[in-house]
Amino acid sequence: MPGNWKNNVKWKNNLSGGLAVVTVALIAIGVWQAIVWYWGLPKALLPTPKQTFDSAVMNRESLLKGIYSTACAAVMGLAVAIALGSVISIALSQSKWLRIAIFPYIILLQTVPIVAVAPLLIIWSGYTFRSVVIVTVIVCLFPIVNSVAAGLTRIDQDMNDLFDLYKVSRAKRLQKLQIPSAINDLVIGSKTSSGLAVIGAIVAEFFVGNGTRYDGLGTLITGWQALSKTDALIAALFASAALGLAMFATVHFIGAVVLRRWTS
């Protein structure tokens, strides 16, 4: 009975949370519609929600293709960043000197504007899908390395003492203590990077898409901007946001499944 009651409360909480989100969205759409009506704005400046929806339906093929291409680049970039970031973090966790020597460059990777790096990368790597993935990796890498490296090195003193007591090798300490300790940090870093992955992919597509047959959301956005198709641009904006949310929700779900047994 208590279990059922708890589930019931949880279900009700989820329902009311969902209703609150939908209510806010409906209010926002209402305000948007009211602004267009009140000021009599032309479609080229700000289309109504209905006009935007119609444009999304009309351009659904391009949008779906764009979402697919951008999603592929974002997922692949995030996956490579997770793998590469984990390897870099493990290397950093093994040597204080390596941390001192390498970490400033990883911070540099984060501070250099990606819009300045992307054109260079495209010159070196070509107007290809690969370039989009590389830009995405660069954008996603820092949060993962930052989070995982901290998780690998921030070990409870008692646990370190326990492993010292049993005279454990460095490799075994890494395997049995540091890596499992850092899983939670990997999930947190990946969640942060999941939203950034879509941004990175779209920014790269702005450059890659110029004059090529690449069909990501970024390419669509630059193309529609040139044609002043405001309704289609807003539709692309919603598609980008939806993709970012989907990426975040997927990583969140995977993280929750991995960690579900460890936390209350």
């Binding site: 646990m159 003492d161 326990l162 010292d164 007591l165 005279k167 075994k172 049995k176 460890w262």
Partner: protein, 269 residues
């Protein structure tokens, strides 16, 4: 078994008790000066006979935990010598350590936490043998029904029981406890103190326990070493008879020893 232990106490000869009753611990003029210049432990000489229980008591910052860590080999003395006889010769698993916090790995169940030392020692035992050893140990600490629960599913007292089982799963000759029950309420503290005594009677084991609690030290120990400002103030042999239970608390040996320890701790002349 407790009668046997009581007899052992009566014939308390350090040199006569060796392999079958745990290890004896001898600390000679042990000092530890940290790199900051702080003298944490200053020329402490004390001994724990094999198979006996000693408590290290003293105010916060008196160096008792540092002393315990040196016995465990987690800190190296800057001067003096610590000898454990028979020699454990740097072998892993010969010393069990219970920390103030249970310090369990949250991604491992109770039984997986207890098998951890066996896995770390890379013995020839198989995984199922390790699990069987750990299950027996958990049964001895009263957690036979909780082997597959994760730390977050256990109460504070249960977590500490897992921590004690983990420390004893390698059949160590020496068990070191660093204020293990400080975070628990009085009832749990007494229950777990009783558990430590039960476990001690079942195996050859020498115990050194750091505690703030004078009553706990008097109830559980054969010998009480009082430390102040990094120095050993006094070593008191506890005259309380064995076996011990709550009825001992109202008797003279308990109250006399309690008062004596308290006055040494305060520095009364």
């Amino acid at each position: 078994m407790q009668r046997q232990q009581a007899k052992l106490i009566e014939s308390d000869h350090i040199s006569n008790q060796t392999t079958n009753t745990g290890s004896s611990i001898d600390c000679r003029c042990v000092s530890l000066v940290f790199s900051s210049g702080t003298r944490a432990v200053d020329e402490v000489t004390l001994s724990v006979p094999a198979g006996k229980i000693m408590s290290l008591v003293g105010p916060s910052g008196c160096g008792k935990t540092t002393m315990l860590r040196m016995i465990a080999g987690l800190e190296k003395p800057t001067a003096g010598e610590i000898q454990i006889t028979p020699s454990i010769d740097g072998a892993a698993g010969e010393i069990g350590f219970v920390f103030q916090q249970p310090s369990l790995l949250r991604w491992r169940t109770a039984i997986e936490n207890v098998t951890l030392p066996l896995e770390l020692m890379s013995s020839s035992a198989t995984q199922s043998q390790n699990r069987s050893t750990a299950a027996q140990m958990l049964q001895q600490v009263g957690l036979a029904d909780s082997v597959n629960l994760y730390p977050h599913q256990l109460s504070g007292g249960m977590r500490m029981r897992v921590s004690i089982a983990r420390a004893l799963v390698t059949q160590p000759k020496v068990l070191l406890l660093d204020e293990p029950f400080a975070a628990l309420d009085d009832t749990l503290r007494e229950q777990l103190g009783g558990l430590v005594l039960d476990l001690w009677t079942q195996r050859p084991l020498t115990i050194v326990m750091v505690t703030h609690n004078i009553a706990e030290a008097v109830m559980l120990s054969h010998r009480i070493a009082v430390m102040r400002n990094g120095k050993l103030a006094e070593t008191i042999d506890n005259p309380m008879p064995w076996p011990r239970d709550d009825s001992n608390r109202s008797q003279a040996p308990f109250s006399d020893t309690y008062q004596l320890v308290r006055s040494v701790m305060r520095g009364d002349d």
